[in-house]
């Protein structure tokens, strides 16, 4: 009850923080997809590059998120206090699932189909765009979905470096030892994550059906 009253009393702020949160995730996901998709495709062609990039992205995932945000603050250009640093950190986290699924999806396309395409006189580019990418779209999208859900959660930590978002309530509540305030940040963040999961899951199913 207290929580509902808190949310109602602060609805303008809750709304603003939710939007901030969404903006952090959306921008980071745009970057992660823009980098992850082409890089994932490139990994299918170069085994040497693949080992290093996938290892690097895996290591990135093992860095505790709070520490990563902290490490980035002193980095010139990318770092500092505020949203930019948070977006860089979120992008780094989102990269692995997108890379891994893009690679797995494309390299998982039936070799007979790819060979038939090559034998019919399709160029490598045509094979990629007309055969491999359409056939692995479901797997690639599943990676984007995982990355998005994870990012919504990790974005709560962005508040620690002054990037705003629903984490503001969580950190404030921790400082005040006030569960209501913590939940005022945590519950909307959880709802956002669920919505992202359902939304992208729905798109995935639509693609699978078509």
């Amino acid at each position: 009850m207290n929580l509902l009253r808190f949310l109602a009393d602060n609805r303008a702020e809750v709304f603003r923080l939710t939007l901030e949160h969404l903006a952090l995730v959306a921008v980071a996901m745009l970057f992660a997809v823009a980098i992850g998709l082409p890089l994932g495709v490139a990994l299918c062609r170069r085994a040497g590059l693949r080992r290093w990039v996938l290892a690097g992205a895996s290591v990135m995932q093992t860095v505790p998120s709070l520490a990563l945000f902290g490490f980035l603050i002193p980095v010139p250009l990318l770092g500092g206090i505020g949203a930019r640093t948070a977006i860089v950190a979120l992008t780094l986290y989102a990269l692995l699932p997108i890379l891994r699924n893009t690679y797995a999806g494309i390299s998982g396309v039936d070799p007979a189909v790819v060979e038939a395409a090559r034998g019919m006189g399709m160029t490598e580019r045509q094979i990629l765009w007309r055969v491999q990418v359409p056939l692995s779209l479901g797997v690639i999208l599943a990676g984007v979905r995982v990355a998005t859900v994870v990012s919504v959660g990790i974005a709560t930590i962005a508040a620690a470096i002054g990037a705003g978002g629903l984490g503001m309530y969580i950190f404030r509540g921790l400082a005040m030892v006030n569960h209501q305030v913590i939940l005022a940040g945590a519950i909307p963040a959880a709802i956002l994550a669920l919505l992202a999961d359902f939304g992208l899951g729905w798109v995935e199913r639509r693609l699978a059906a078509s």
Binding site: D110, A112, V113, E115, A116, A117, R118, G119, M120, G121, M122, T123, Q126, R130, V131, P134, L135
Partner: protein, 265 residues
Amino acid sequence: MGADEPERQTNRGIVAFRRVSYCLPGGRPLVSDLNLEIGEGETLVLLGRSGSGKTTTLKLINRLLEPAAGEVLVEGRSTQAWDPIRLRRRIGYVIQEVGLFPHLTVERNVGLVPELDGWEPTRIRTRVQELLLLVGLDPDAFARRRPHELSGGQRQRVGVARALAADPPFLLMDEPFGALDPVTRAELQHEFLALQARLRKTVVLVTHDVREALLLATRIALLSEGRLVGTYAPAAFLRAAEPEARGFLEVLSGPGPQNVPRGGL
């Protein structure tokens, strides 16, 4: 049928292998010192056991593989001198797993090469209808289906239609009927003969089934361990003395269900 382009007449081998060898990256030879001429309009069957180099030989023609030594000539020009994309567009390719694109309808599968060649959509549609009728599929019933909605035999028919789409002078077929049940296989084999009587493509077909070879071939090239044992007219193959050939012929005369090829059409 689309207009046949005027073809250069070369009676000795529209496809020719000149001392061709192909090795795996590790160095193991799959094809050694192969010399073979394939005449225009003939159906040459590459017959051999698993691992004899049949499929390798086939893939050397459309440059899916490149020779380690020697050269493969198509229309008098080394495949190394051809642009591989242009070469492959002139050569229809049918494989056992069919390799139909599961995300595309039958219509789009069959029309793909014409589409890549930049045909008008209406011309592609007409051509697809024509081809589906040619391989015995009702266009109204099948054009909009996906490959997973077809039986094995129907898929293979679509595969043949797709290979013929841009009216290529050559057709490479890698065990095209291998995955089918015996009844469907016999059906498609006879339809192939009827089709080939009309189209007169230069066909190279890979099989390990000696009955299929005898039924479909105008000439049989017997391969063993990457080497050409010999080439035979089907009737001559029955009398061949080479042990590799006898091995196949014993299968024919041996016990078991008899499925001796019915002659011609």
